[in-house]
């Protein structure tokens, strides 16, 4: 007897609800199914919310009513089923998911009544449903509700034409372009369904499951077929080498592989359940259109051959099957397993076919088509013999003495065939260049043994065989791990292939980077020899990098990098005694042709800028090493020039370097922008080292002539990107800053977002402002702000905010004043030119930093939130509120309330939870009534938005 809830209470309850949070709370807390009827009568169970679409994305609002129904399904399944059958879900997958959950809680015979609805819902592509539907199939199958289970299973397995990002491919007649058919639900869900749920269905109705899977597999192959291709073959022997499980089958073979396995399993289970159905199932498979089914049929015969020997004979003596290469594997398995038990007549038939040899018509046609020639008789005979040999290999256990002799003769001539039962055989996957020696083997060798190996070893031709590149990598590893040993005998590598020399140098460089000491002289001697090798003479003419270095250019670049590293001021740097040797190498490499004008023209279109090209080209790296050499000389000047009375150090002290650096600044000598960028890279150090030299060559580094603009940009962009702003830099490069600022605003939004030169320039200018090198009235700051795009202004404000946030310790008062003045004057919050929301939002960082005056920050944030509703770094801003709530309780709550109000994404209060709770907790215990009241209001408001965890704060009260 169904109980009834007091109608008065129902009315009271309904009238006490007005907000969506209350609706949710009400339905989520109902524990009895007795509410269903009265709520239904009052119209509360009939309006599932419709999906919400925004910016091309679709969302499914959860519905507390369907959640309630799902919870009640176990307690009163009939009542829930009645409502669910009438309910319109409005295409809301979230509601549909709840109703499937309800079905899962019902007895299968009741759940079966929802199967048609579930099957229909599965025709939409939404993710919430498949795994539940799959579970429902199991639930129904376990309850012997086969019809209902199959209705859903059919939709779970449905295939549809493949989709491609290029729609033209979808109807393509090119089989390689045509996208693979796909499952309607996500493939992962299909895989899980086949693995976890389909067996339940197969258990109660294997034959029916087999029919369904065969149908789906046929549809898949049909969809794969290219329209208008009359002789379409499924080429399953390639994508599914073996129907039975086999290591050759792909690990992740996709939907088709899954369908083949499932069809096979279902067929086997169907015959297990009804042994008499063997022939019927085999016939059914053979009647289907594609080869894959004939292969499954052969596999099934193989599995159940013992129970129907005649069927085995029929298959083995079918010439069409024997001759069809696409059936080779399954036929070979069948014949290997059963040949010994066959009658002499059957065996003779097969041997007779082998003796006859293959039909070579196709082979002859192919040679004619591809090579435009006719194969000669010897070639055809070889072909026949090898084919025979493959069959003898398959039947080797059964061969008569005579045939065994034939086998031995042929195998002596052609070698033993590998895997003759497969049309194609895959031996592994690519793992990168391989070495003929392991690192351990190299370590165990003496240097002489190693050099002997390098001298005598030649890589074989072939795919994935050990290569010079692979051996080189191993050498780099071993050298970097034991640099002392190898550097002491580095000279022994003189005369070797550039791949090995470069690899050893890479190893030395890595060791030096890691702070290890080297025997520098032998290493540099090896470098000198390598650098002197003819650069343009190709060592090998190949595009295959596995073969090894094509020329000496790569080794030269690594030499320059090694010198750059070794000359750095550190404990194990190159000793002063090797000055002449070091320079002779740099000098040599600095004349390398790379980068050429052509290569720079090509790379100009790539994202790599001149600075990046400078460290990835031989001459560029050599120029970097040259500058490094200059500073190494200064560092070691006491030892290099012990008798010098002049304490000042400038380029005149090293005329060889001065001459080289000046020469490469002359366009007639060096046209590379990458090289020019090297001067920008080193500009500040050079200003400090030799101001006079810089003054006299500044125009060469930054040419102002219009036609030389790319050179100016190469140097300037490197300065703003890699050289830290400094007063000295500003003083010397004032003109360049001016030129750059005049052109600001021309960069695309993408470049600004990628922090291109304009963004870096803005960072320089703001750093000068921060430090007091420029004031707000300066042209630089004013021009920057007047010309900057919105994106650049946002970037600048964010960078300042982040810098504030990341600054440790207290800021000086004058810096605080300057930054506050900057915000007040350049980011207007009133008047006709009020700043854009995105600019205002950047204040989140400023506030979160806690570095500015608290009262000022609070007032600004209040204004910003009024105008922009949201701020960047909101979680850090709330963290800051938590730290000031004791001193500014009322303001903290008010600002938090504004942030909650502005949070449209709906995750802010979750993200801020810990600190927001801290703010509210403090405010709720504040002696000021208004503060407490505001905090309480906010907690209730948070609850009304669904953040129920904040309710704990009131309970604590």
């Amino acid at each position: 007897m169904r109980q009834v809830i007091d109608p008065e209470i129902v009315e009271k309850a309904i009238s006490s609800i007005s907000t969506s949070a209350e609706v949710e709370f009400f339905f989520d807390n109902l524990a009895s199914p007795e509410w269903i009827k009265p709520l239904e009568e009052r119209g509360l169970l009939s309006e599932a919310p419709e999906p919400e679409e925004e910016d091309g994305l679709i969302g499914f609002p959860p519905w507390p009513v369907s959640r309630y129904l799902a919870r009640m399904a176990q307690k009163d399944p009939e009542e829930v089923l009645r409502v669910a059958l009438e309910l319109r879900t409005n295409g809301n997958a979230s509601v549909q998911a709840d109703l499937i959950d309800a079905a899962l809680a019902m007895p299968p015979n009741l759940a079966a009544q929802l199967a048609s609805k579930v099957a229909k819902w599965l025709q939409t592509p939404y993710l919430l449903l498949p795994h539940r539907s799959a579970a429902l199939v199991s639930h129904l199958a376990k309850g012997e509700q086969a019809d209902a289970a199959f209705e859903i299973a059919r939709e779970m397995l449905a295939v549809e034409p493949g989709r491609s990002w290029d729609e033209a491919d979808e109807g393509s007649s090119d089989p390689y372009l045509k996208p693979e058919p796909q499952s309607r639900v996500q493939q992962w869900d299909v895989e899980e369904f086949v693995k976890l749920n389909l067996p339940d269905l197969v258990r109660i109705a294997a034959r029916r499951a087999f029919d369904l899977l065969s149908e789906m597999l046929e549809e898949f192959v049909q969809l794969r077929r290219v329209e208008g291709e009359p002789e379409y073959r499924d080429i399953s022997e390639v994508w599914r080498p073996s129907i039975a499980p086999h290591a050759q089958n792909p690990t992740f073979g996709g939907l088709r592989d899954l369908l083949v396995s499932a069809t096979r399993e279902a067929a086997l289970e169907a015959i297990n359940q009804d042994p008499d159905s063997l022939r019927e199932i085999v016939a059914e498979l053979e009647q289907r259109k594609w080869t894959i089914f004939r292969r499954i049929a052969l596999d099934v015969v193989n599995e159940f051959g013992e129970q129907d020997q005649t069927l085995v004979d029929l298959k083995l003596t079918n010439r069409a099957i024997f001759s069809d290469a696409s059936l080779r594997h399954e036929y070979a398995v069948l014949i290997s397993n059963y040949f010994g038990q066959r009658s002499a007549s059957v065996q003779d038939t097969v041997y007779g076919w082998i003796e006859e040899g293959p039909d070579l018509t196709y082979y002859i046609e192919r040679i004619d088509r591809d090579e435009e020639r006719q194969p000669d008789e010897e070639e055809l005979e070889n072909r026949r013999e090898y084919w025979r040999l493959e069959w003898y290999e398959i039947l080797r256990d059964f061969l008569s003495e005579e045939l065994m002799r034939s086998y031995e003769v042929l195998s002596a001539k052609y070698g033993v065939p590998q895997h003759p039962d497969f049309v194609s055989w895959s031996s592994g996957v690519m793992v990168g260049p391989t070495s003929p020696l392991s690192n351990e083997q190299i370590q165990a060798m003496t240097i002489d043994e190693l050099t002997e190996f390098l001298r005598s070893w030649l890589p074989e031709e072939g795919f994935m065989v050990p290569s010079r590149e692979g051996l080189g990598r191993a050498i780099s590893d071993v050298v970097s791990e034991d640099p002392q040993r190898y550097s002491a005998q580095a000279a022994k590598l003189t005369g070797f292939d550039p791949t090995y020399v470069r690899s050893a140098i890479v190893g030395f460089k890595r060791a030096s980077e890691g702070g290890y000491g080297l025997e520098w002289e032998p290493v540099l001697e090896l470098c000198r020899w390598a650098a002197s090798q003819p650069r343009n003479e190709m060592v090998r003419d190949t595009d295959d990098l596995e073969e090894g270095d094509p020329h000496w250019g790569w080794a030269r670049m690594e030499i320059a990098r090694l010198l750059d590293e070794g000359l750095k001021p550190k404990e194990y740097q190159i000793p002063p005694s090797l000055k002449a040797l070091s320079w002779s190498i740099i000098e040599q490499i600095a004349e390398d042709p790379d980068p050429t004008t052509e290569s720079e023209d090509r790379q100009e279109k790539s994202p790599m800028d001149a600075a990046a090209r400078s460290i990835n080209s031989v001459r560029g790296t050599a120029l970097h090493a040259a500058f490094r050499f200059v500073f190494w000389c200064r560092q070691n000047s006491d030892q290099l020039w012990p008798d010098s009375e002049d304490s000042a150090f400038n380029l005149d002290r090293i005329p060889e370097a001065k001459e080289l650096l000046e020469r490469h600044l002359q366009l007639e000598q060096d046209k590379s922008q990458a090289v020019r960028s090297v001067y920008g890279w080193w500009i500040l150090s050079m200003i400090q080292l030799d101001r006079k030299w810089i003054d006299s060559h500044l125009h060469d580094v930054f040419p102002h002539e219009e036609g030389l603009r790319p050179y100016w940009e190469a140097a300037w962009h490197t300065v703003v990107r890699f050289v830290p702003p400094s007063k000295l830099l500003l003083e010397v490069l004032r003109d360049e800053y001016e030129i750059a600022l005049r052109q600001i605003g021309s960069e695309s939004a993408d470049d600004v977002a990628r922090e291109g030169p304009e963004a870096r320039l803005a960072e320089h200018i703001l750093t000068y402002y921060w430090r007091g090198d420029l004031d707000l009235e300066s042209d630089f700051v004013q021009v920057l702000w007047a010309l900057a795009s919105l994106g650049l202004r946002v970037h600048a404000l964010t960078v300042l905010g982040r810098a504030l946030y990341n600054t440790e310790g207290r800021l000086q008062d004058d810096v605080i004043d300057r930054l506050q003045e900057f915000w007040e004057r350049l980011v207007p919050t009133t008047g006709p030119s009020v700043a854009a929301s995105d600019e205002l939002k950047a204040f989140g960082w400023w506030f979160a930093s806690g570095k500015l005056d608290a009262g000022w920050s609070i007032a600004q944030l209040e204004t910003v939130l009024k105008l922009a509703k949201q701020i960047d770094a909101s979680h850090l801003a709330v963290q800051r509120l938590a730290s000031i709530v004791d001193d500014y309780p009322r303001e903290s709550v008010s600002l938090l309330a504004a942030m909650v109000e502005g949070d449209t994404q709906g995750w802010g209060p979750h993200l801020w939870r810990e600190n927001a709770m801290q703010v509210l907790k403090q405010a709720l215990s504040n002696p000021d009534t208004q503060t407490r009241q505001s905090a309480e209001n906010l907690v209730h408001r948070l609850g009304a938005r669904g953040y129920l965890e904040y309710g704990d704060l009131l309970q604590a009260e």
Binding site: A13, S15, S16, T19, S20, E22, V23, R941
Partner: protein
């Protein structure tokens, strides 16, 4: 009292006006949202507190109606259906009626219409058709805008079953109609006015400043009662 909508006079109110706690809460909520909303409500309370002003109810009702309209606009609801006044729409109909009754041959005497539809009568019928179509649309549009108002005032911004939303819409329309009537000096009883004001204040306060967790407790108790009787 300054009429400047930009000034927030809350600090000095307690010295000159006695307000109930719920009124103070509503006032604060309105001032926090926008000063003019707070001032309009406060204006109504001030007028009502002046017993010597015999037109105080009509004046206060005018403010309360204005408060409802502005609140709607403040939360982003299209209020054209409320500002498109009936009087302006009715005027052409009245003119056409006068002309038809004076000139139509079908108007054969006082309260007597018979015969064919002539141009005068046709004109009136066209105007009448348009007017009623507008009236119908306007009623729907007003209801839609009230629904939107309640949705926008709901911090959760999720759909609420019509059975729950409808009484809220009905109540809003009822208060609005009531205060428009009083503002236009239609008859009313002071106690009825006080009751409507009190209900409107709570209605707005519950939505502007929800007491979510208290409401949850109430709901929980009702569920327990319902299931206990089950």
């Amino acid at each position: 009292m300054s009429a400047d909508p930009g000034v927030d006079p809350r600090g000095t109110i307690s010295e000159v006006l006695e307000v109930a706690p719920h009124q103070e809460a509503l006032m604060n909520e309105l001032f926090d949202r926008r000063t003019d909303l707070g001032n309009i409500y406060l204006g109504a309370l001030f007028v009502l507190s002046n017993a010597s002003n015999h037109d105080r109810h009509a004046l206060a009702a005018h403010n309360l109606r204005e408060l409802m309209d502005r609140l709607m606009a403040h939360i982003g609801v299209d209020t054209r259906a409320w500002t498109d006044q009936m009087a302006g729409r009715l005027e052409p109909l009245v003119t056409a009626w006068t002309q038809a009754s004076e000139n139509s041959s079908a108007h054969t005497g006082p309260d007597d219409w018979s015969g064919a539809i002539d141009n005068h009568l046709r004109k009136f019928l066209h105007k009448a058709e348009k007017f009623f179509a507008w009236l119908n649309e306007n009623r729907i549009a007003r209801r839609v805008s009230v629904r939107q108002t309640l949705e926008n005032l709901d911090p959760g911004r999720k759909q609420v079953p019509e059975a729950i939303r409808a009484p809220g819409i009905k109540a809003w329309m009822k208060y609005h109609k009531y205060f428009v009537g009083v503002a236009h000096h239609h008859g009313f009883a002071p106690s009825e006015f006080d009751s409507n004001l009190h209900d409107l204040e709570h209605y707005l306060l519950n939505r502007l400043r929800p007491r979510t967790f208290q409401e949850f407790e109430e709901i929980r108790k009702l569920i327990e009662q319902g299931e206990a009787s089950d």
